[in-house]
C-alpha cells in the first residue's frame, strides 16, 4: 500500500465539511423542493432555494423505478436516493452551499437522467468557475466510472478462474483485470480505504494487517503455483471491494487540479513501482500496468488540454511530445499495438529499464506543471 497522501486526506476532509449527504427524514427545515418524477420528466417546484439544509420531497409518478440526484456542476454527487418505486414517495436531505447544481431523475436507474438546473442562494457564493473545466471534470468522472464498470466483469472472470482452481486461466485473466484500476488509480486512492484492500503489496503491509487483493493472488498463482481455499475467499473479497469502488466513483472529489496532479501521480506510480519491477514482482506484468497508468494520465491531460494550452502553450507542446515519445517507446514492448500483451518485465534489461525511466522522467517533470497551467489565468 502506498501511504495515503495528505492531499487525498485533505480532499476527503474538505468534502465532508462542505457537504454532508444524509438520508434521514427531513425535519421541516428551511427548504423543501418537491420533485415529481415520471418516465420522461423531472419537475421541480422551485429552481432557487436558500443554501443550507435542503430537502427533496420526491414522488415517482412514472411506471419505472427511478433514482434522484443532486449534482455539482462537475457531476459530482451531492446526494442521491436510489430505488424509488413507481407510485412511491421518498425524502432526501443535504447540506448545500451556495452555487449552481443540477437535480437529475433517472427513470430505470440508467444513463445521465433528466436534468434541471437549480441554484442555491445565499452568502458565500461559490467561486466563479470555468465551465470548460467543469465539463472536463464531468467527462473525467464519466471516464473513471466507465473504467470501474468495465473492470468488474474482467475481475469477475479472474475471480471465477481462481475459484475454479484453474491456475492458467487465472494467470491469463490477472493483468487485464487490473487495467481499468491502474488507469484511474488516484481516484480510488482518494477514498483511502479501498486501495489498501485490493492493490497492496506484501512489503506494504503493516504488522497485523491482512494481505488481500490482487497481489496476494498474484503470489499464489506465480510463486506458490497453487490456489488455496483461502485464495478462493480472497477472490470473492476482491470483487466485493471492487464493487465498493464502482459504487463510490461518482462521489469522488475531483477538481481540475486534482485531475492534473492525478495524472502526475500516475507517472509517479510508474517511476517508483513499475520501472523497478516491484509492482508485479511475481507475474512480471508491470508493462501492462505501466501502459494503463500512462493512458489514464493521457486521458486527464486530453481533457484539460484546451485550457492548459491557452495558459501555457509551450507546456502543452512539450507534453504532446513526451506523451508521444513514451507511447512509442512502450509500443516496442508489444507486437500488436491494439493488445495488452506486453513483454514480461523480467525480460527487460537494465539498459532498457533506464531508457523507460528516462522517458518517464521526461514526461513527469513537465506534467507536474499541468496543475498550475489549469488554474493560472
Amino acid at each position: 500500500m502506498r501511504p495515503v497522501r495528505l492531499s487525498a486526506v485533505a480532499a476527503i476532509a474538505a468534502a465532508l465539511t462542505a457537504v454532508t449527504g444524509c438520508t434521514e427524514k427531513g425535519d421541516g427545515g428551511d427548504g423543501v423542493v418537491n420533485v415529481t418524477a415520471t418516465d420522461d420528466k423531472c419537475e421541480v417546484s422551485t429552481k432557487e432555494f436558500p443554501a443550507g439544509h435542503v430537502e427533496l420531497a420526491i414522488e415517482n409518478k412514472g411506471s419505472k423505478v427511478t433514482e434522484v440526484y443532486i449534482l455539482f456542476p462537475d457531476d459530482r454527487v451531492v446526494t442521491e436516493r436510489e430505488n424509488i418505486g413507481p407510485g412511491t414517495k421518498q425524502r432526501v436531505t443535504a447540506e448545500v452551499k451556495a452555487g449552481d447544481y443540477q437535480i437529475a431523475c433517472k427513470p430505470g436507474m440508467k444513463g445521465d437522467g433528466i436534468r434541471q438546473n437549480v441554484k442555491a442562494t445565499g452568502d458565500g457564493a461559490a467561486a466563479k468557475r470555468d465551465p470548460r473545466l467543469d465539463k472536463a471534470v464531468a467527462a473525467y468522472r464519466q471516464y473513471a466510472q466507465q473504467q470501474a464498470d468495465e473492470t468488474l466483469p474482467l475481475a469477475e472472470t479472474f475471480a471465477k478462474a481462481v475459484k475454479d482452481g484453474d491456475i492458467e486461466a487465472a494467470k491469463k485473466a490477472y493483468a487485464p483485470s487490473r487495467i481499468g484500476w491502474e488507469r484511474t488509480e488516484p481516484v480510488a486512492e482518494s477514498f483511502g480505504d479501498i486501495d489498501p484492500k485490493v492493490d497492496v503489496r506484501e512489503d506494504g503491509l503493516e504488522d497485523g494487517q491482512k494481505w488481500t487483493g490482487w497481489h496476494r493472488l498474484e503470489k499464489s498463482l506465480w510463486q506458490d503455483k497453487k490456489i488455496t481455499a483461502e485464495d478462493k475467499t480472497l477472490a470473492d473479497q476482491l470483487i466485493t471491494d471492487l464493487k465498493d469502488w464502482q459504487n463510490r466513483v461518482g462521489k469522488a472529489e475531483i477538481t481540475p487540479t486534482s485531475m492534473a496532479n492525478g495524472a502526475k501521480e500516475l507517472l509517479d506510480e510508474v517511476a517508483t513501482g513499475k520501472v523497478t519491477g516491484e509492482e508485479e514482482r511475481y507475474s512480471h506484468t508491470d508493462l501492462v500496468d505501466f501502459k494503463a497508468n500512462v493512458e489514464g494520465a493521457e486521458k486527464s491531460y486530453a481533457l484539460l488540454k484546451t485550457v492548459a494550452k491557452e495558459n501555457d502553450p509551450a507546456l502543452t507542446t512539450e507534453l504532446d511530445k513526451q506523451f508521444a515519445a513514451l507511447d512509442t517507446l512502450l509500443d516496442k514492448y508489444r507486437e500488436d499495438t491494439t493488445s495488452y500483451d506486453f513483454t514480461s518485465y523480467d525480460k527487460v534489461g537494465d539498459a532498457d529499464r533506464k531508457e523507460l525511466s528516462d522517458a518517464v522522467n521526461a514526461l513527469a517533470e513537465p506534467l507536474s506543471k499541468l496543475a498550475a497551467a489549469v488554474v493560472v489565468k
Partner: protein
C-alpha cells in the same frame, strides 16, 4: 518547462546586480557583491567573467559532479535548456533559489526550486559546464569539435566502468557546503528532464588540490599533502601558458576556455594503511608530515627529482619529467560507502584542467605507467570535456559561442 524564463523577480531585482558581478569577475576577485533583499550572502564567487568560475577560482571544500547524456534531437530545445541552466546557475551562485523560489507560489504546483538551500549562504558555489566529445556527434556540431578534445587512450592499469565514464556534457558544482552543491545539480537535472539525463555523478569532499598556495596544502585520503605545486589562481602567466585556450590555439568558440579530464581513482585504502611509513614516503617522493620532497626540509623547497626513486609518484608526475607538461588540478576525495567485501569504496576524484589534453594529462598519465603508487590505486572512471569560455554578462549563456558560432 523549456520556456522557463529567469523569473520576473530575477529580472526586476537582479539585472543591475548581474552587471556589477560581471565587472567584479573581470577583476578576478572573490566578491561580496550582493546588497538588498534576503539575508545578505557573504560568500559569492562571480558567475560572469571571461573564464568560467570553478577552474582558477579558489577551490571550495565540496564537490557534486554530474555527467549527462543528451536525449533530445531538437537543437532549439537543447539551446533553450542551456539558457535555462544559465539563468538558474546565475541565481544559485548568488545564493538565490531557482525561478520563483521554493515556496509561496501556487499551492497546486510544485515549487520552481526544490528548497533545500533556502537560508544557506552561496558558499562560494561555482557551476562549470563542459562538453564531451560525443556531444559533437549531435546537432550538426561535428565541424566544431576541437582537435585538442581527444578521447583518452587506454592507459596501463585502467579498469574503466563505462557506467562511470564519458557523457555528452558535465556540470562541476563546487561549494563549501555540500547541500549547496547537491542542490545545484539536482535543480539543473530537473530543468534538464526530457532534454538530458544524468549518466553518472560523483560527490566529493576534502579538496586534494588547492589553487591558493597561501592556504594550507590539503591532504588526500592517503594522508599526504597533494597539489603543493599546483597552478595558483593568481599565476596569470602559468594559467595563460597551461590552462586557457588562446586565440591562436582555437577554435574561436573555445578561446578563454579549457579542457577538463575527470578520473575516478579508487584507492586500495586498507593495503595502503598496512604499508610502512618509509615505503609510503618512498612511493610518493615526499615525507608525510611536512610534505617536503626527498632530501629537502620544507614543503615548498624545489624537489630534487634524482634523489627520489625512479618510480616515485612525484618524480614521474613532475613537469621536468614530462617536457614541462603541467595541469591545473581540482581533485576531491570521495567515499561511496563500502564495497561488498567490506572495503572502503574511496579514493580521489581527479579533475585536471589544461589547454590541450594531448600536451597535458595524456603525457603525464603515460609517464605514470611505472609509478609504484599504481599498486594502491586504480582508475575506474574517466571522461573528458571541452570547457567553454565564461558567461560574459546577464544576456550571455553557457555554450553560446559554440551554438551561435560567435565568439
Amino acid at each position: 518547462m523549456s520556456s522557463e524564463s529567469p523569473s520576473r523577480r530575477a529580472l526586476i531585482g537582479w539585472g543591475g546586480a548581474g552587471l556589477a558581478l560581471g565587472a567584479a569577475a573581470a577583476g578576478g576577485a572573490v566578491a561580496v557583491a550582493r546588497t538588498g533583499d534576503d539575508a545578505a550572502p557573504t560568500t559569492a564567487i562571480p558567475f560572469h567573467g571571461a573564464h568560467q568560475a570553478g577552474i582558477a577560482t579558489p577551490v571550495q571544500d565540496r564537490l557534486h559532479f554530474a555527467s549527462f547524456d543528451v536525449k533530445t534531437e531538437d537543437r532549439a530545445a537543447f539551446v533553450q535548456m542551456l539558457k535555462d541552466w544559465t539563468a538558474a546557475a546565475r541565481r544559485m551562485t548568488t545564493g538565490h533559489p531557482v525561478g520563483e523560489g521554493g515556496f509561496g507560489g501556487l499551492p497546486e504546483a510544485p515549487p520552481d526550486d526544490t528548497g533545500e538551500a533556502l537560508g544557506l549562504q552561496p558558499s562560494r558555489l561555482t557551476l562549470t559546464i563542459g562538453f564531451g566529445p560525443s556531444l559533437f556527434e549531435k546537432f550538426g556540431l561535428a565541424d566544431a569539435r576541437p582537435e585538442a578534445l581527444v578521447e583518452l587512450p587506454k592507459f596501463a592499469g585502467d579498469n574503466l566502468d563505462k557506467n562511470r565514464s564519458g557523457g555528452d556534457l558535465c556540470i562541476q558544482a563546487c561549494a563549501d557546503d555540500p547541500q549547496v552543491a547537491v542542490h545545484a545539480i539536482r535543480n539543473l537535472a530537473r530543468i534538464g528532464f526530457g532534454k538530458v539525463v544524468i549518466r553518472w555523478s560523483q560527490l566529493g569532499f576534502g579538496k586534494t588540490s588547492s589553487t591558493t598556495p597561501e592556504a594550507q596544502t590539503p591532504r588526500n585520503l592517503m594522508g599526504f599533502k597533494d597539489g603543493t605545486r599546483n597552478i595558483a589562481g593568481t599565476e596569470t602567466d602559468r594559467l595563460k601558458k597551461f590552462v586557457w585556450v588562446s586565440e591562436k590555439e582555437g577554435p574561436d568558440w573555445m578561446v578563454s576556455g579549457s579542457y577538463l579530464v575527470a578520473r575516478r581513482i579508487r584507492m586500495h585504502i586498507e593495503t595502503w594503511d598496512r604499508t610502512s611509513l618509509q615505503e609510503q614516503e618512498d612511493i610518493i617522493g615526499r615525507d608525510k608530515g611536512e610534505g617536503a620532497p626527498v632530501g629537502k626540509a620544507k614543503e615548498r623547497d624545489e624537489p630534487f627529482l634524482k634523489a627520489m626513486l625512479p618510480t616515485a609518484h612525484v618524480r614521474l608526475a613532475h613537469p621536468d619529467s614530462n617536457d614541462g607538461a603541467t595541469i591545473l588540478r581540482r581533485g576531491y576525495s570521495f567515499t561511496d560507502g563500502t564495497d561488498g567485501l567490506g572495503r572502503l569504496d574511496a579514493g580521489l576524484f581527479f579533475l585536471a584542467y589544461q589547454k590541450d589534453v594531448r600536451t597535458g594529462f595524456v603525457p603525464v598519465q603515460r609517464n605514470l605507467a611505472t609509478d609504484t603508487l599504481n599498486e594502491y590505486i586504480q582508475h575506474v572512471g574517466s571522461a573528458v570535456y571541452a570547457v567553454p569560455p565564461g558567461v560574459r554578462d546577464k544576456d550571455d549563456w553557457w555554450g553560446r559561442t559554440l551554438f551561435t558560432g560567435e565568439a
